[in-house]
């Protein structure tokens, strides 16, 4: 279809709509209206056709009516005066014998969103609430919500609210659910629809008449109810048990939310509910829709915060499918890491090893990080895999491995010998600043174990003029200082060159200040320097970390079944790959300690120094 320019199309359509010959033939007329709506859906501004479309509204053809209403609702706010003309047709349609026409007219009347028309809409809406046809009542109920949102702050008509409350007993389940929705919006400022005992019991009894969406709505509203006795509470729980294991994930999730809010004071009951829901959640993880899989995975992560062993026997369900998108694979790996135990560790590592060479670099790096995490409890096997990967000599893999080794060695200092022997030659492959920073940190802290450390640093120092990354320069300074303390003879000369460069030539204030700080520090004597630079080592008692302690359910219950768990990063805080571990782990403590170890003459650069780090952390 040739795409005409917007104005040309509008002019042509205007001619066609006002042509009496077209108007005389219902099918031609409808097709012309169809073209107008098509143009609208393509983004052409057809607001100029408003008056012609108002005329086209007076027809017996329901399809044409629907199309015209769609048009009118989109453009009514631009033409408030002309919209008055439509009201008459709409009010007439509200009297039509055909319930479909009545509901259509009523819905569109309330969709016009014009405050000036409110007075004309109220009467048909009131009549609509008492209509014989359920489809009209459904529309009328929501119409009142639209009306109130149109004039925020206006007085709430008690008669309408009462009528809506009484319609909770309407035989049609959709009308009942719509009443809940409408009351919730109308009474927003008073905390929404009031849920008392009779209403709760009424809603619970009628839940089975509702479809999936209605059930979810009822379950959501019921979260406000507080049972008056334990007996009542357990009656409600047993009534809801079937929906807790519902094959429909929305119902299952809404029911669990309700369970958690009802049983906030009964942790044992909540835990039992989590156990019960794990089956349906796992089934949702195998759903055909990958978005549903992702949603279920994210919520399983939430549950595992309180019951770390919940999915233990099902660890194979979290193996990644090779065609799955990267965002699902990453979540699955985060879960796999939490499920490691003595029996399954070799299977899980075999599986993760396969992902390390994935085409998608994000997946590959996430897999390497996951192996590093498992390394905190099973260091030998993981180190073997990680050091093996260095042989591939691919920059993104080497970078991820070096960062992972840095994080691992901070937690498990006993791995340092293996790590040191693996570091030789890595600098040739590393490209990105994150990986180089990690390498420099390792060389600074464990430089006495890496024979080539001074040469590697020297190569960095020779290239410092062309270095663009601020983080790398800062890390290089610190690493060289540290290496100087352990291997002074080999490092003294290059440290001098580096300090000279940083203080005299470097334009970046952060690097320059750090250089000055170290220069003054060295003037205070080697012991002072040692105290500052080598004071912080990881605590060996961190040693072996297995899993995380179980959190109380209340910490995450409010974010269950919301978008929160699906957001980036999810529930697992990413400690890896962001700067040096010591600054992650013990920042507040050292900030208090540092001034005590230095005398007054060197204090001046210190605030700046920490500002730099804060800056760096926020930039990275």
């Amino acid at each position: 279809m040739p795409y005409l320019g917007g104005e040309e199309t509008v002019r042509e359509l205007k001619r066609a709509l006002s042509n009496p010959n077209v108007q005389a033939e219902p099918l031609r007329y409808r097709n012309t209206v169809l073209r107008v709506v098509r143009a609208m859906s393509q983004g052409v501004n057809v607001s100029g056709l408003f008056s012609e479309m108002v005329k086209a509204c007076a027809t017996v053809d329901v399809v044409q009516k629907k199309l015209v209403y769609m048009f009118l609702c989109s453009y009514a706010s631009l033409n408030p005066e002309l919209s008055l003309l439509v009201i008459n047709t709409l009010r007439k349609d509200c009297q039509d014998p055909n319930p479909m026409v009545r509901s259509l007219a009523l819905r569109n009347m309330s969709n016009l969103r014009l405050p000036s028309l409110v007075e004309y809409v109220e009467q048909p809406l009131t009549a609509g609430l008492r209509d014989r046809a359920a489809c009209v009542r459904r529309v009328a109920v929501l119409g009142w919500a639209k009306l109130y949102n149109l004039q925020p702050g206006s007085d709430i008509d008690a008669a309408v609210v009462n009528e809506l409350y009484s319609l909770l007993r309407d035989p049609d389940p959709v009308v009942m659910v719509n009443c809940l929705r409408a009351l919730d919006e109308i009474l927003k400022e008073e905390g929404g629809v009031v849920i008392n005992k009779p209403i709760t019991h009424h809603l619970l009894n009628r839940m089975k008449e509702c479809d999936v969406w209605g059930q979810c709505e009822v379950l959501r509203v019921l979260q406000r109810y507080r049972p008056q006795s334990d007996d009542e509470l357990f009656d409600i729980l047993s009534l809801l048990d079937a929906s807790l294991v519902s094959p429909h994930p929305p119902v299952m999730a809404a029911t669990l939310s309700l369970f958690l809010s009802l049983c906030a004071d009964l942790p044992a009951v909540s835990l039992a509910a989590l156990e019960r829901v794990s089956g349906p959640l796992l089934a949702a993880c195998g759903s055909g829709s990958r978005e549903m899989r992702f949603t279920a995975l994210c919520h399983i992560q939430l549950l595992m915060r309180s019951v770390p062993g919940l999915m233990g026997p099902h660890f194979k369900r979290f193996f990644c499918g090779y065609a799955e998108p990267a965002y699902i694979k990453q979540r699955k790996m985060q879960i796999m890491v939490e499920l490691v135990n003595d029996e399954n560790v070799s299977m899980l590592l075999d599986e993760l090893k396969g992902y390390c060479t994935d085409v998608n670099t994000d997946t590959a790096q996430a897999a390497i990080q996951a192996i590093g995490h498992i390394g905190r409890s099973y260091s030998d096997r993981c180190l073997e895999i990680l050091t093996g990967l260095l042989g591939l000599k691919q920059d993104h893999i080497t970078s991820a491995v070096v960062q992972t080794l840095r994080d691992l060695v901070w937690v498990c200092p006993q791995c340092s010998d293996t790590v040191c022997s693996a570091l030789e030659g890595c600098e040739e492959t590393l490209q990105d600043s994150q990986g180089r920073q990690a390498l420099l940190w390792l060389l600074g802290v464990y430089g006495d174990g890496v024979s080539s450390a001074p040469y590697t640093l020297e190569a960095f120092i020779d290239g410092v003029k062309s270095e663009v990354s601020l983080g790398v320069k800062m890390e290089l300074l610190t690493a060289t200082m540290r290496l100087f303390l352990t291997r002074p003879a080999e490092t003294q000369d290059m440290l001098g060159r580096l300090l000279h460069y940083c203080i005299e030539e470097e334009t970046d204030m952060c690097v320059r200040d750090l250089g000055l700080l170290y220069y003054h520090l060295l003037k205070c004597g080697i012991e002072e320097t040692r105290n500052v630079l080598q004071g912080r080592r990881s605590d060996p008692s961190l040693g072996v970390l297995i899993g995380r302690p179980a959190q109380p359910i209340s910490q995450w219950a409010c974010s269950f079944n919301t978008l929160e768990p699906l957001k980036k990063g999810g529930t697992v805080t990413q400690t890896a790959s962001r700067g040096s571990p010591e600054h992650e782990a013990s920042k507040p403590k050292t900030a208090v300690e540092l001034p005590e170890t230095l005398d007054c003459s060197t204090i001046s650069p210190i605030p700046l120094f920490w500002k730099c780090w804060r800056l760096k952390l926020s930039v990275v």
Binding site: L67, V174, W213, C216, R220, G321, Y327, L566
Partner: protein, 437 residues
């Protein structure tokens, strides 16, 4: 509540349910999604806006919503909406959405009011929808290009093409469409085979789908294998039982004859619905359908030699179609020379996926194929062998259900006055079938 709903990469722009939102919101999402390579997770946030999207039929189905709404509900709703559009338009593609935009507007108008979901039942909706679907391709039962994908059990002599069910459901009323019902058993396998050939994991997710094109169908009875057992402990009948671990049913299914005779009774709505879903974990009744015997070595000149033998362990009467094996190869592989065991196969080196893709249109049960690939990889080292990672297989197994679930009979009651056709079809897909090397 759903504030705004639209589907992207088509001219169909969007419907605004609440507040004054404009096309700029659609553009914001478009820019965000296309700016980054690869797939985006279903929740995308741009400042205060929360977009939740799914991908179906090559289209993005997007809803904007508030942070506290249920992702399960909205994802399920978007899936259901896509299924409804598929049912009513006879297919899901950019073209069918464009051609039927009036019908889709009408559908949305009934499905959502002020951002609240009203109904998604096609029985309810059919009373309200007036527009007629425009089918994007003429329907013909004798569309031979697709014959053979599904097998028909009730009529041995005839085979329904896989496209037979891809037509608008409303055509059955006005356009004199045939009165037909399709019952499909669709299973997805996800399998991991270890490097020693041992089965590490084998899961099957299955469902029974009913697609009904009958204007007046009061009840159907679907009989499953009588020896079907559910759960680990339960055993029925004698000999090799058909077993699933968990199953769940559509809420409209009556199960009063299920425990005794494994019969499902339901009154199908027009369109497609999933009647039963089931899972089987780690316990396939038969051997996994494929085994791969790889040999990988470096020759003296630094070339990588891959010799693959692929054996299909299906029963001799069955066969696999559209088999595709993707073998990851080391980075930097530049050229591929291949020797394949028959001319209908093909293979290519896909550099951006870093994989050799070996395509086999058809592979009969009990047969074996082989392929020899020689790859030039500059700087090939022994460590590079690590990159020759797990092989991924994708395939379709027509007329085959991995769990062994069968439909014994399909009865309509009352007996239809007009001649009606019943089709029972089986297909097993690979969800993820990976073989470690």
């Amino acid at each position: 509540e759903i504030c705004l709903l639209f589907c992207l990469f088509s001219l169909f722009r969007g419907i605004y349910f609440r507040g004054e939102t404009g096309d700029d919101v659609v553009n914001v999402f478009y820019q965000k999604v296309t700016a980054l390579p690869g797939d985006q997770p279903p929740v995308v946030m741009v400042t205060y806006l929360h977009f939740l999207h799914i991908r179906q039929g090559g289209l993005y189905w997007v809803a904007t919503t508030t942070a506290d709404s249920s992702p399960f509900t909205i994802v399920e709703f978007l899936n259901r909406l896509a299924a409804l559009v598929k049912d009513y338009c006879g297919g899901l593609s950019e073209k069918s959405v464009q051609m039927n935009f009036a019908l889709i507007y009408e559908l949305l108008d009934e499905v959502l009011d002020y951002g609240h979901i009203q109904t998604t039942s096609s029985d309810m909706l059919k009373n309200f929808l007036q527009s007629e679907a425009v089918s994007s391709r003429p329907f013909s039962l004798f569309d031979l290009s697709n014959v053979g994908l599904f097998g028909a059990d009730t009529q041995q002599s005839k085979v329904a093409p896989s496209s037979a069910a891809a037509r608008p459901i409303q055509a059955s009323r006005e356009q004199g469409g045939r009165s037909e019902i399709f019952v499909d058993v669709v299973e997805r396998m996800s399998v991991v085979v270890g490097s020693n050939g041992v089965l590490m994991k084998a899961d099957v997710e299955g469902e029974i789908r009913v697609k009904c094109f009958m204007p007046s169908c009061s009840e159907i009875r679907i009989g499953l294998n009588e020896e079907l057992s559910i759960g680990k402990s339960q055993l029925r009948g004698y000999g090799a039982a058909v077993r699933v671990d968990r199953c769940s049913f559509h809420q409209g299914v009556r199960l009063d004859e299920f425990d005794s005779h494994r019969i499902l009774r339901l009154c199908p709505s027009q369109g497609e619905q999933t009647v039963m879903q089931y899972q089987l974990t780690d316990d396939l009744p038969t051997a996994p359908p494929f085994r791969l015997f790889p040999t990988i070595e470096r020759d003296g000149t630094g070339r990588l030699i891959l010799f693959l033998k692929l054996r299909c362990d299906l029963p001799p009467k069955s066969s696999a179609v559209n088999v595709c094996a993707s073998v990851p190869v080391p980075k930097g592989a530049v050229s591929l020379s291949q020797e394949l065991s028959s001319p209908d196969q093909s293979a290519e080196l896909q550099s951006q996926n870093r994989a050799v893709v070996w395509q086999i249109p058809r592979l009969a049960g009990g047969t074996q194929l082989s392929a020899l690939f020689k790859l030039d990889v500059p700087g090939l080292s022994s460590a590079s062998m690590l990159e020759v990672g797990p092989v991924g297989l994708s395939f379709e197994l027509p007329k085959f259900s991995a769990t062994g679930l069968q439909i014994r009979f399909l009865r309509l009651s009352p007996v239809q006055p007009a001649p009606s056709q019943r089709w029972v079809r089986y297909v097993t897909h690979s969800d993820s079938y990976s073989i470690r090397i």
